[in-house]
């Protein structure tokens, strides 16, 4: 059987591999969860997806021969999240439509102004960005990844990382300036 893409791996692992996995990969669990949380915009979904991604990473771990473990793991987490987003896209669109239909009230501009530069406001603004902008900002600003690591994790050319970050930051600035941020687009 030929793989759809070239990805070498094996889930034949011995106890030594298990110990290596716990030592090298598990310390990046926070990074995995954080990326999933921001891509999926839900802690519960992030928990399920991070769990699935870690198990997947474990299966491929035998084929992992050194290099940047965090970038390797985050690449798997990202793929798992995008699969999830693709699968749940229609359901999400429907939820969004319902929210609009029923006019769920957001915080008023006054409330936002009073709360000022707070966590909710930043969270809403970041969540309003399309995933491809959101992920580079999360990787750069929260995870402290280099452009090279971001390129590895997101499979975009390194030359495109800078322009994607630039556009993402611009959108984030606009979303923060906008008193009533719109819901995120689910376009991948």
């Amino acid at each position: 059987m030929s793989n759809p893409v070239q990805e070498k791996g094996s889930d034949v692992l011995d106890s030594q591999d298990q110990a290596r996995f716990e030592m090298l990969v598990l310390p990046h669990l926070d990074a995995a969860f954080n990326l999933a949380r921001w891509l999926l915009r839900s802690g519960a979904d992030a928990e399920d997806t991070a769990q699935e991604a870690l198990l997947r990473a474990y299966r491929f771990f035998h084929g992992f021969h050194g290099g940047d473990v965090r970038a390797w793991l985050l690449q798997i987490v990202r793929n798992t999240c995008y699969t999830w987003l693709e699968k749940n896209r229609r359901a999400n669109e429907m939820t969004e439509f319902d929210e609009e239909l029923h006019g769920v009230p957001g915080p008023t501009p006054e409330a936002l102004a009073i709360a000022g530069d707070n966590r909710d406001r930043l969270t809403r603004a970041l969540e309003s960005l399309p995933p491809r902008y959101r992920e580079v900002i999360v990787l750069r600003e929260l995870e402290g990844c280099s452009y090279k690591e971001i390129a590895t994790i997101t499979s975009i050319p390194i030359g495109t990382v800078m322009s994607t970050l630039s556009r993402g930051r611009r959108q984030l600035q606009l979303a923060l300036a906008d008193p009533a941020p719109k819901e995120a687009s689910h376009e991948l």
Binding site: M1, S2, P4, A32, A50, Q51, L55
Partner: protein, 249 residues
């Protein structure tokens, strides 16, 4: 007037991604360019707002425990003993025969490994598809509805055919992502069972079917006309072989 550097290299400078020469050159530019200086100040503001908001979300403690349980429960797959045999054969071949024979065995062994991983992925995909609402993106027993649905969603055209008369009614289709690549999945019924037929393009030449089983599910894999097929189901492997022949004819 806008400076195009404010949208480009300014970010590389801000992120410390420039070499020292480039950074020094850009700093000279910054002294003259109001636009870039303003944009840099705004980026610093943005970063400090983000930092103050403490947006980093740490994993719940329970998640680590769940993963440790998963990892402990993950069993070596069925080919594990076969793999050991192959290794012994490889060693014996190298000792007794020529190095080239050893290479051949090694390449067979590598193929077995990635086959097993792919079979595991496809069985997982089959299991995922059985969860409520996951089976089909397009529900139709009509191949002329299912086939056009894939148009524009894939960079290849999967062969969509209904085999209702032969006992495999087409039930629908969906997209699946395996190893980051989007592939087609066709759903067929077989008595009370469901069969997922995963299809993706390949550059390798046609290959006759190979079968296997994993976690109580049967799979059959073959290549034909530039497409690779893998059917997965809990129905019998003879059913899957019958379905494979229908695709071939």
């Amino acid at each position: 007037m806008s400076c195009d550097r404010a949208d480009t290299v300014l970010h590389a400078y801000f992120d410390n991604e420039m070499d020292s020469l480039g950074a020094a050159e850009f700093e000279r530019h910054l002294e003259q360019c109001v636009e870039c200086a303003g944009a840099l100040a705004a980026l610093k503001d943005l970063r400090s707002s983000v930092n103050r908001a403490q947006l980093y979300q740490k994993a719940p403690a329970l998640l680590r425990k769940k993963i440790l349980v998963d990892v402990a429960a993950a069993r070596p797959i069925e080919i594990a003993p076969a793999r050991a045999t192959w290794q012994w054969l490889a060693i014996a071949a190298v000792v007794l025969l020529f190095i080239s024979v050893g290479w051949q065995v090694a390449s067979v062994h590598r193929g077995e490994d990635s086959n097993a991983v792919l079979a595991a992925e496809l069985v997982d995909a089959h299991l995922r598809s059985l969860q409520p609402g996951h089976l089909s993106d397009v529900v139709s027993t009509d191949q002329h509805t299912v086939k056009p649905w894939f148009d524009g969603k894939l960079d290849f055209a999967p062969p969509v055919r209904d085999f209702a008369e032969q006992g495999f009614p087409l039930q629908g289709g969906r997209l699946d992502v395996i190893h980051g690549r989007t592939i087609a999945a066709l759903v067929y019924g077989r008595r009370k069972h469901l069969v997922n037929v995963f299809i993706w393009p390949t550059t390798e030449r046609d290959a006759s079917p190979r079968t296997g089983s994993r976690q109580g599910y049967q799979w059959i894999n073959w290549r034909q006309g530039g497409m690779e097929f893998c059917a997965v189901s809990d129905t019998s492997s003879s059913d899957l072989e019958q379905l494979q022949r229908l695709f071939r004819d």
